[in-house]
């Protein structure tokens, strides 16, 4: 109770209230505009939050992170275009509902499911916080190194069919974080005697380039889309009642969201996939999935909204971000000398609980805002793509230039913007670069500290948590290798099957051709024809 009181004291400030409001409304708006997304908004706003108190800055960013998915459901349902990437599954059942004249039902159901997912995860984590506080101190340097390594491996293997290039890009992230002056021996690494490289490449510059500038380039080079908007009539309260009819799907999906959110590198997509599959398998009407099923919509929206709060767990408890957005938030902590990790849970638990309560309030604010403002809000979908690109380009300048007032940073950001654009064109992931940078830095520091007390290699995993993490790494790697081998065998079988049939058919044609061409067979055929004619003559 005391903990709750001190947490509430942290939040009882006008600037925190304003941050909550700005974060929730801003997040919904950003989510509702297809092509912007929370990553772009957070990247642009990061430097602006550095001058704020940690709780205020983090509340704004968390607000955008948590509420953008609510907003992202609007274009997904109304125009079949997901507002944020994680709303892609919402289009499966949301848009068919709109097509059959039920946009209001779909939207209210999406809001209610998102609200349930958000609240469920925050309540779970508030209840779970004391356990985390007990577990977090078990993590020393070695354990944090192994957890970061596990995180980076999970991020790489999560990119099915692209794990090699995802790994190469993560290694690129590790490399660029190592550029500059080495902090212990003070030797320069890959600076090529250029003064601007001595201080290294700033994470925010890379983030802004890869997320904001690249998105601006994508929008500037794309065509404007003609949007046909469905008119909304009536209230949006019926979804709450309908959600009440599917408590099992909602609870299981939210649980998937919480579990997947806590594992670094896994995130919304896996949670959604698992909950959607579960809902379809256990439904009495599985044939409706993909054609406007209310259960499908609930599964998708509940799972993705349960992730943001859960994703804060590895960040706050261990200082390890599981994906790009929490990696950006980590920089806010560092700027204010608040070091997330076991120490934060031990020494500043009210701060952690305050963040969770902020998320709780945020969900309520967003739901109220959406229930009353959706009709006006849907107009933001009409903003033309290329104009949006111009706006993002202008806003990106604030993000990069306000960091150090350095034109060199802007050149770097522009270069990373071009790289991000190329990656987007090729459908290659840019998140491994960011996580490589963040987790690479953490691994460097923690491995050095951890190895200082290790005499033999096996001593590194002699503690229970370290051993468990090591086993987890081995299991993840083994399962990935197994999957790759199975895919290769499958591919070879498919290739052989195709080749065999083509081979056989080609061979058969070739043989027949040769048979017909050879002189000996001409003679044989002539003899057979002669015999046949003789045989016919008998009758």
């Amino acid at each position: 109770m005391e903990l709750l009181q001190s947490a509430l004291e942290i939040l009882m400030r006008w600037d925190v209230a304003l941050a909550l409001l700005a974060g929730s409304v801003g997040g919904v708006l950003i989510g509702a505009i297809p092509g912007v997304g929370p990553a772009v908004a957070i990247a642009i706003l990061l430097p602006a939050t550095f001058s704020m108190d940690p709780i205020v800055g983090l509340t704004v960013l968390l607000g955008i992170y948590g509420s953008s998915m609510y907003g992202g459901a609007i274009p997904a349902i109304l125009i079949n275009t997901p507002g944020t990437a994680v709303n892609a599954l919402t289009t499966y059942d949301g848009y068919p509902m709109t097509a059959r004249g039920e946009p209001r039902r779909a939207l209210s159901l999406a809001y209610s499911a998102s609200f349930f997912g958000g609240m469920f995860s925050v309540i779970c984590l508030i209840l779970f916080a004391p356990v985390l506080a007990k577990v977090a101190p078990l993590f020393g340097s070695r354990e944090i190194f192994l957890a970061a390594l596990l995180g980076i491996i999970l991020v790489i293997v999560a990119h099915r069919g692209q794990s090699l290039i995802a790994g190469a890009l993560a290694a690129f992230g590790i490399f660029i974080q190592s550029i500059g002056l080495e902090p212990v021996k003070y030797t320069s690494r890959y600076t090529f005697d250029q003064p601007f490289l001595s201080s290294g490449i700033n994470l925010i510059v890379v983030v802004l380039g890869l997320f904001a500038l690249s998105q601006a380039f994508v929008l500037l080079t794309s065509e404007d889309e003609k949007i046909r908007m469905t008119r909304l009539r009536g209230g949006l309260f019926q979804g709450l009642r309908e959600l009440g009819r599917h408590p099992r799907v909602a609870t299981v999906s939210a649980s998937f969201g919480v579990m997947m959110g806590m594992i670094p590198g896994v995130g919304e997509f896996t949670a959604q996939f698992m909950s959607y599959t579960y809902a379809q398998r256990t439904s009495k009407r599985p044939q409706d999935f993909g054609n406007g099923s209310s259960e499908g919509l609930i599964a998708a929206e509940t799972a993705n909204n349960a992730v943001p709060a859960a994703a804060m767990v590895p960040l706050l408890a261990l200082g390890i971000p599981g994906e790009a957005l929490t990696a950006m938030m980590l920089s806010v902590f560092y700027v204010h000398n608040v070091v997330p990790g076991p120490g934060l849970f031990q020494n500043d638990m009210p701060f952690v609980v305050a963040l969770y309560i902020a998320l709780l309030i945020l969900n309520i604010l967003v739901l109220i805002f959406l229930l009353f403002a959706t009709k006006s809000l849907i107009q933001v979908v009409r903003i033309p793509n290329r104009f949006l690109g111009v706006c993002i380009l202008t806003l990106s300048f604030v993000g990069v230039y306000s960091l150090r007032n350095s034109a060199t940073d802007c050149v770097m950001a522009a270069l990373f913007g071009v790289l991000g654009y190329i990656l987007k064109r090729l459908s290659l992931p840019s998140v491994p670069i960011i996580l490589g940078m963040v987790l690479g830095g953490i691994m460097e520091v923690k491995l050095r500290a951890g190895m200082a007390r290790v005499k033999e290699p096996l001593d590194f995993i002699d503690r229970p948590v370290a051993f468990l993490l090591f086993v987890a790494i081995l299991l993840v790697l083994a399962s990935h290798v197994r999957r790759v081998i199975r895919e290769r065998v499958d591919l070879r079988a498919a290739e052989r099957g195709v080749q065999k049939s083509a081979h056989r058919f080609g061979n058969m044609l070739g043989r027949r051709r040769q048979i017909f061409l050879k002189d000996r067979f001409k003679k044989v055929r002539a003899r057979h024809a002669k015999r046949l004619s003789k045989f016919k003559d008998l009758f």
């Binding site: 290694a171 021996k185 990069v400």
Partner: protein, 176 residues
């Protein structure tokens, strides 16, 4: 007709080979410089060496990037790759717009440059209606007022502001 290997490749074909070749070439080039660009400290453990993490990063880039290139189902650059390369080059124009904006702000000032940049780029993107141009000016003013006026982000006053009279000068430097 695409082969099974091509069909199973995640992502479009165009540009993949060029990107992979460039990535591996740069990685190899950087790895070849490791001796001159990093130092090996005597009597220091391997994991504490300043060379260790750049080697991990570059080693990973060369190894995994090389495997990605090796396992790619294509071995020849086609005209689709060249078209894609041109598409990438188109973006350089917008990068140049961005850099021009960056270089002009410290000289002319955040508000005037933003107020000119937004409508100019909006015009360039094909929006010629006065409504869109006014919208862009409005957006420019609101961005400057929000970020520099209210959020006080660190954007220095322009060189041109020095010529303004006393009170106006400090107001412009602080808020615009």
């Amino acid at each position: 007709m695409p082969t099974e290997r091509e069909r199973r490749f995640v992502g479009p074909r165009r540009g993949q080979l060029i990107f992979a070749l460039f990535f591996v070439a740069v990685s190899v080039l950087l790895l070849s410089q490791i001796g001159s660009q990093t130092k090996w400290i005597e009597k220091s453990k391997l994991f504490a060496q300043p060379r260790f993490w750049p080697a991990v990063g570059l080693g990973g880039m060369v190894l995994l990037g090389g495997m990605h290139l090796y396992l790619m189902p294509w071995r020849r650059i086609t005209r689709y790759d060249v078209t894609e390369l041109r598409k990438w080059a188109q973006v350089l124009e917008f990068a140049a717009w961005f850099m021009a904006y960056v270089l002009l702000v410290p000289l002319i000032g955040y508000l005037p440059v933003t107020m000119a940049f937004m409508p100019l780029l909006t015009w360039r993107m094909g929006y010629r209606q006065p409504r869109m141009l006014w919208l862009s000016v409005g957006f420019a003013v609101s961005v400057v007022v929000l970020f520099k006026g209210f959020l006080s982000v660190k954007i220095p006053g322009a060189a041109i502001y020095e010529y303004l009279p006393g009170a106006l000068r400090s107001f412009f430097i602080l808020y615009l």
